[in-house]
C-alpha cells in the first residue's frame, strides 16, 4: 500500500478515539503556551537559536569536512568513530560491537528508531531495554513513538498500568497513580542498568573540535545509560555535528527550550571514555564510567540531502518537536502522519531524506500549508515550502509527469 493510503487508514482509526484526540491536544496546548513563556523569560534563547541556525548552516555546507574533523577528534580522545553509509551498515556496526546474548540499555533516540536498532539487536539474541519511560512504554506497546520528545502522550494511565501488568508482570493495583508506576519502573530498570553490558544513546550534538557528545534530558536515564555500562555506543546522524563544544551546548539549550522544558534537568557532556590518573599520575582508561566509547555517525541519505536544494535546510533540525506541537494536522494524528519513524511536518521531510522521496512525497499531501510550523521553528526551516516541493513531486508522479 502506498504511504499516503496507509497513513490515511491509520489516521481514520484515531480521529474518533476521544482519549487519543484529547491527550494529544492537551499536550500540544501546554507546549504552545509554555514555549513563548520560556522565550520571554530567557531572552537570550532567541539569540542562541540564531547562532545554532548559523553554525548548522556552516556544517551542512561543508558536511564532508566536518565529518572527518569529528571522527579525528573522537579518536584523539580515545573513542572509536565509525561512518555508516546507511541503516543496515549502522545496524551491523552496532551489532558487531554488542555481540550476542548481552544485556543492552538504550536511551531514547529517533536515530535508533530510524534504523530499527532495538529490533535488530533483539534479533541477534540480546536483551534490550528502552530506559526513557515513554519510550519503554512504546517498546511494550509495540508501536511507534508519537512525538520526538514525548513518545507516549497517547497512552492513558490505565493503559500504562495494563501494559506494565501484561508485559512486565508488575502487580499494579487498580487506580495506581503515575508516581507509583514510575517508582516501579525505576526499580525494575535500576537492576538492568547495573548489569548492562552496553549502553546505547543518541546525541543532541557532536562537537567536531573536541569530539564531545552532548545529550540533554530530564529523566536522568541518559546519565545512567552512558555512565554505568562498560561500553557506551552513541549513534547520531551526521547533521548533529557542530563546529565547537560551545555550539553543541547551545544546541542542547535551544532544543530543550523550544520543546517547552527549560531549564533542562540535565545536560551531559561526554568526551571520550572515562579515565583516571590518580595512581602515580599514570593515565588509566576506564574508571567509574565506560571503558569504551564508540560513536557511530549515520549518513543514510543526509549527505545527499545536503546537496539537494529542496531538502538541505531540514538538516538544520534539532528535533525539538515544536513543529509537531504546533501543527493542526499533527494535533489530530500525532506521529501517525510522517512515516515509519518520524512524524509531523519535520517527520515527512526526514522520511524523504532517510528513506527516499517516494516514501514521503504522498504524505506531504496532508500538509495544510498553514505555516504554523514555519513560524515557530527555532532554526527557521521553511517546512511548508519543502512540503510543497514534495507535493509537486508526488502530483507529477501520480499524473505521469502531466502535473
Amino acid at each position: 500500500m502506498d504511504p499516503l493510503s496507509k497513513a490515511l487508514g491509520e489516521i481514520r482509526r484515531v480521529l474518533d478515539d476521544e482519549f487519543f484526540q484529547e491527550s494529544v491536544k492537551r499536550a500540544a496546548g501546554h507546549a504552545e503556551e509554555k514555549v513563548p513563556d520560556i522565550l520571554d523569560s530567557h531572552p537570550y534563547l532567541k539569540e542562541l537559536a540564531r547562532e545554532v541556525r548559523r553554525v548548522k548552516e556552516e556544517v551542512i555546507s561543508n558536511l564532508d569536512y566536518y565529518i572527518e574533523e569529528a571522527m579525528k577528534s573522537i579518536e584523539r580522545i580515545g573513542g572509536k568513530a565509525y561512518l555508516a553509509s546507511d541503516a543496515s551498515e549502522a545496524r551491523e556496526i552496532v551489532g558487531r560491537i554488542v555481540g550476542r546474548g548481552k544485556l543492552v540499555v538504550m536511551s531514547k533516540s529517533m536515530t535508533a528508531e530510524e534504523i530499527g536498532l532495538r529490533e535488530y539487536l533483539e534479533s541477534l539474541g540480546n536483551e534490550v531495554w528502552e530506559t526513557d519511560l515513554g519510550q519503554l512504554l512504546i517498546q511494550l506497546e509495540g508501536g511507534k513513538p508519537m512525538h520526538s520528545v514525548a513518545p507516549a502522550i497517547h497512552l492513558s494511565r490505565e493503559r500504562v498500568a495494563s501494559l506494565l501488568r501484561e508485559k512486565l508482570g508488575f502487580e499494579v493495583p487498580e487506580g495506581a497513580r503515575p508516581e507509583d508506576m514510575v517508582r516501579m519502573v525505576r526499580s525494575f530498570l535500576r537492576s538492568k542498568f547495573e548489569r548492562a553490558d552496553v549502553g546505547i544513546s543518541g546525541a543532541n550534538a557532536i562537537a567536531a573540535e573536541t569530539g564531545s557528545i552532548v545529550l540533554v534530558e530530564n529523566e536522568g536515564n541518559i546519565r545512567l545509560v552512558t555512565g554505568l555500562p562498560p561500553i557506551h555506543i552513541a549513534l547520531a546522524g551526521v547533521e548533529k555535528i557542530v563546529p565547537t563544544l560551545m555550539d553543541a551546548i547551545k544546541v542542547a539549550l535551544v532544543q530543550a527550550a523550544y520543546d517547552g522544558l527549560y531549564p533542562p534537568n540535565y545536560i551531559n557532556v561526554i568526551s571520550g571514555p572515562s579515565a583516571t590518573a590518580d595512581i602515580e599520575h599514570v593515565r588509566v582508561r576506564g574508571a567509574h564510567g565506560p571503558l569504551q566509547l564508540h560513536v557511530v555517525l549515520l549518513d543514510n541519505g543526509r549527505l545527499e540531502a545536503s546537496r539537494n536544494q529542496l531538502l538541505r535546510e531540514q538538516l538544520r533540525c534539532i528535533r525539538c518537536g515544536r513543529c509537531q506541537w504546533e501543527c493542526p494536522v499533527w494535533q489530530h494524528t500525532a506521529n501517525l502522519w510522517g512515516g515509519p519513524a518520524y512524524g509531523g511536518p519535520m517527520g515527512v521531510i526526514w522520511t524523504a531524506i532517510t528513506m527516499g522521496v517516494d516514501a514521503a512525497a504522498g504524505l506531504s499531501m496532508l500538509c495544510l500549508g498553514c505555516r504554523r510550523c514555519d513560524y515557530v521553528c527555532p532554526v527557521e526551516i521553511p517546512l511548508s515550502r519543502i512540503l510543497l516541493g514534495l507535493k509537486r513531486i508526488y502530483a507529477h508522479g501520480l499524473l505521469g509527469g502531466q502535473g
Binding site: 493542526p328 489530530h332 507535493k391 502530483a395
Partner: protein, 330 residues
C-alpha cells in the same frame, strides 16, 4: 480491474477542468459573474476587481466534497472517471448535478455585491472582467500541479491585461497571495499591482472616506492562515470591524498564531479537515456565538463542521457602507 486512486482522479479532474473551462469545477461562467450584472460595472479599466471565482465556487466545491467524503478510502471505478470527463465537457450538467443550496449561492453573490459597493463608497472606481473572472489556479499550485498552474497563471494575467488592468483588487486571502507572491515567479513580466479590498477599505475608513456600520455588536475573529502568515493582513480587518462599531474578540490562537480551519486538506482527507474545523470552532465558541471569517474556504469548512450552532459570518456580511443622510441600510 481498471480503477484509479481517488486522489489521482481528483487531481486530473481539477487540472483538466481548470485548463479547459477556467474553473476547477466545470460551471457555466455566468455562475461566476452574474452577481455583477445589476451593478453595471464597466468591463474595462485600470483598476479591476478580480474575485478569482473563489467565493462563487465554494458552494459547488462543498457539494463536490460531500461526494468525495463518500468515496474516502475506496477506489474510483471507470464509470466515475468517464462521468468526470463528461462533466468537464458539459458545465451546465455539473451545475445541475452538484445542486448546491440556493441560499449558499445567493450568499456568495451578496458578499461580492457588498464588497463592490464598499469599494465604490470609498471612492475606488473599479471595472470587472465578467466572463474573464477566471479561477486563479491556487488549488493547482497548493496540490503540486505546477505545470498546469503556470499555464493558468499566464492566461489569467493576459485576460486581466486585456481588460486594461494595472491594479487588481482581490477579495480573498488565497487569490491575493497567489497573485501577489506567486504569480511574479510564474508569469514573465508580471506587472500588476495587487491590493486586497481589506487594505483598501481600512485605509479609506481611517481617512474617513467611508463611514461603516456593523450588523452585529460583537464577534470573535478567525484570522485565515494566508492573511495572517503569508500576507500580514491582520490589523486591517480589525480596524474595519472596530470602525463599524463591532467589538472584536480574540480567540486563544489568533493573529500570527491563528489556527487553520482544516480546509486545505478537505479534498485529500475530508474527515481530518472536519476534525480540525471542530477543534477550531470549540475555541472560537469560548469567546462568542458570532464568528467573523475573512475567507470563503474558512467559511465553508467551519460551517460544515458547525455543530455548536455558531453564527459564522463573512466580514462582508457584517460590515456595510453607511449611506450619508439615510441612517439605515437598504
Amino acid at each position: 480491474m481498471a480503477s484509479a486512486s481517488p486522489l489521482k482522479a481528483l487531481l486530473e479532474f481539477l487540472r483538466d477542468s481548470t485548463l479547459r473551462v477556467g474553473l476547477p469545477v466545470p460551471l457555466p461562467m455566468e455562475e461566476i459573474y452574474s452577481w455583477a450584472l445589476p451593478l453595471r460595472l464597466p468591463r474595462m479599466g485600470s483598476v479591476i476587481l478580480y474575485t478569482g471565482a473563489l467565493y462563487q465556487l465554494m458552494p459547488y466545491i462543498e457539494s463536490l466534497t460531500r461526494y468525495l467524503s463518500a468515496l474516502e478510502g475506496s477506489r474510483v471505478s471507470d464509470t466515475l472517471l468517464r462521468l468526470a470527463r463528461i462533466l468537464i465537457a458539459t458545465p451546465k450538467l455539473t451545475r445541475t448535478l452538484l445542486a448546491p443550496e440556493p441560499a449558499r449561492v445567493e450568499r456568495a453573490r451578496r458578499i461580492l455585491t457588498n464588497i463592490s459597493r464598499l469599494l465604490s463608497s470609498s471612492g475606488v472606481a473599479h471595472a470587472y472582467p465578467y466572463e474573464d473572472d477566471l479561477y486563479s489556479g491556487v488549488l493547482l499550485y497548493d496540490l503540486g500541479l505546477d505545470d498546469a498552474f503556470a499555464e493558468v497563471a499566464g492566461r489569467v494575467y493576459r485576460k486581466l491585461k486585456e481588460h486594461g488592468a494595472s491594479t487588481v483588487i482581490t477579495v480573498d486571502p488565497h487569490t491575493t497571495n497567489i497573485l501577489r507572491n506567486v504569480y511574479p515567479s510564474y508569469v514573465d513580466g508580471f506587472d500588476l499591482e495587487v491590493v486586497n479590498y481589506l487594505e483598501v477599505l481600512s485605509r479609506a475608513a481611517e481617512e474617513s472616506r467611508i463611514r461603516l456600520r456593523g450588523l452585529v455588536s460583537e464577534a470573535v475573529i478567525h484570522d485565515p492562515c494566508f492573511y495572517a502568515r503569508y500576507l500580514h493582513i491582520i490589523d486591517e480587518p480589525r480596524k474595519i470591524l472596530e470602525r463599524s462599531g463591532v467589538k472584536v474578540l480574540e480567540p486563544r490562537r489568533s493573529r500570527e498564531a491563528t489556527y487553520c480551519c482544516g480546509g486545505p486538506v478537505e479534498s485529500v482527507a475530508p474527515r481530518l479537515a472536519s476534525k480540525i474545523a471542530e477543534t477550531r470552532l470549540k475555541e472560537l465558541a469560548e469567546k462568542s456565538k458570532n464568528v467573523v471569517v475573512l475567507c470563503p474556504i474558512c467559511y465553508t469548512n467551519l460551517s460544515r463542521a458547525n455543530k455548536l450552532g455558531l453564527r459564522i459570518l463573512d466580514i462582508a456580511e457584517v460590515v456595510e457602507a453607511e449611506v450619508p443622510g439615510s441612517g439605515s441600510p437598504q
